[in-house]
């Protein structure tokens, strides 16, 4: 299957322009699964409920509906971060939609970073895995700061993920050390779609460091993007190759876990 990550700098609060761009990418990029950054429709640094309210929409809202329709029309699977409002609560969410999905599904970011906590509620979906039958692929989502907790990717692996995708707005560099290990320690593919650019709000600057990457299940880099500028990275992966978690006649990195000894 062909897996792609799109790296770009969303225009702050311009949902129409960002959606135009995302839809055009969905149409033009030759891949089975296309991953966009966190909060790709809105930009990142919306602080507090009043600002988040201006950019949030439900899963069937106008911009996400356009993205879902584009994915379905193109017969592709799309993962895209957006600001969601659900029953009056705001979430930093990621939609997965398109080919093979009867309806769009949403993952709500479990671990909130910094001032996200002022506008968004902690995710209530937990980590889950989608079976994409036409791709023989079990796909799980996490978002950005979820990487900091080995429990996130681990939970997805325990639920059967072959591929973990991670829409991101990463601002530090330390994730570059850890992300390949999330792949290695779980024997899963891992795709990080990170944004670029900078934003300013309430006397504070945040800048995002690109370097979107797709890691193989041994932690090696299959494709990566530069720190600055738009990029699309695409690689061919074989999801079923992640499923045998044994590496000799005795050991298996999942079955060898001794959960009663943890925490």
């Amino acid at each position: 299957m062909r897996l792609a990550c799109v790296q770009f700098a969303p225009t702050f609060a311009d949902l129409d322009a960002n959606t135009d761009r995302i839809v055009a990418d969905i149409e033009r990029i030759d891949a089975d699964v296309i991953v966009f950054p966190e909060l790709a429709t809105s930009g990142y640094f919306h602080i507090g409920p009043h600002e988040v309210a201006r950019i949030a929409e439900p899963l069937d809202g106008p911009h996400i509906s356009r993205i879902v329709s584009a994915a379905e029309s193109a017969s592709k699977v799309v993962v895209c971060g957006f600001a969601e409002v659900h029953q009056g609560t705001f979430f930093n969410s990621s939609v997965i939609a398109g080919k093979g999905l009867a309806q769009p599904q949403v993952y709500r970011k479990t671990h909130l970073f910094y001032k996200e906590t002022l506008g968004f509620a902690p995710g209530d979906t937990g980590f889950f895995v989608i079976h994409l039958e036409h791709l023989d692929c079990h796909l799980g989502m996490m978002i950005c700061y979820d990487w900091r907790f080995p429990e996130s990717a681990r939970t997805l692996a325990l639920k059967g993920a072959d591929v973990v995708v991670c829409p991101s707005n990463l601002i530090t560099h330390i994730w570059r050390m850890a992300m390949p290990v999330r792949a290695l320690e779980n024997k899963v593919y891992l795709a990080v779609a990170n944004r670029t650019g900078a934003e300013h709000n309430n006397n504070e600057d945040v800048s995002f460091n690109g370097q979107s990457a797709i890691y193989s299940f041994n932690g090696s880099v299959l494709a990566d993007a530069p720190e600055h500028g738009d990029a699309v990275i695409i690689t061919e992966i074989l999801p079923h190759e992640t499923r045998i978690k044994s590496f000799n006649s005795i050991n298996d990195i999942i079955k060898d876990r001794r959960e009663e000894r943890y925490w």
Copy 2:
């Protein structure tokens, strides 16, 4: 505090010679905590209960007693891997003894690797942390293949470890990618004392890849050893600097965990 790892190739099944060497190292190395490899008194590749029985001893057995005495006499803390027999059961264990410990404590390896499973029982101690008051240090042990499970170091960090020590007989190279991330993801120091050399048993060869290393809590290498040959690495560390797990005014890598969402 001064933390040291000793890298060497134990002589297979020669407990006297290995203990001589370990005791001499304890006396000569200028450090507060000295970490030796896994199964340092016996060598590694003893297959099955009959072979393990020949090298195993209780925590108060003759060789471990010499090591404990040397640690106490030198007013140092020593961590050393050995084959333990306890109430008729064999464990791949690590003793910690010396200054500040009323009596030696033992950690029994939680995750057994390959043919260790034929001779040893899975550890029954779980992961625990020792408070070394004179060093203002909370120290936890894991052994070799325990690294493969992020839950090991995580459990130690959740129990308050500032420093994780990891006596090892590592035979692959992938741990070099993951060990610094174990330090980073938990904000703990991590010391890997690995052995070198090769062993042969039952038509099978194993060779060990040295590269003992001490990582800071940001994942950077503070000291490391070459792949081949004996080495002692020593570095000064500040255990209390690991304890503030927050990194901005809102986030904390331990408090931000959402355990109800894991597994």
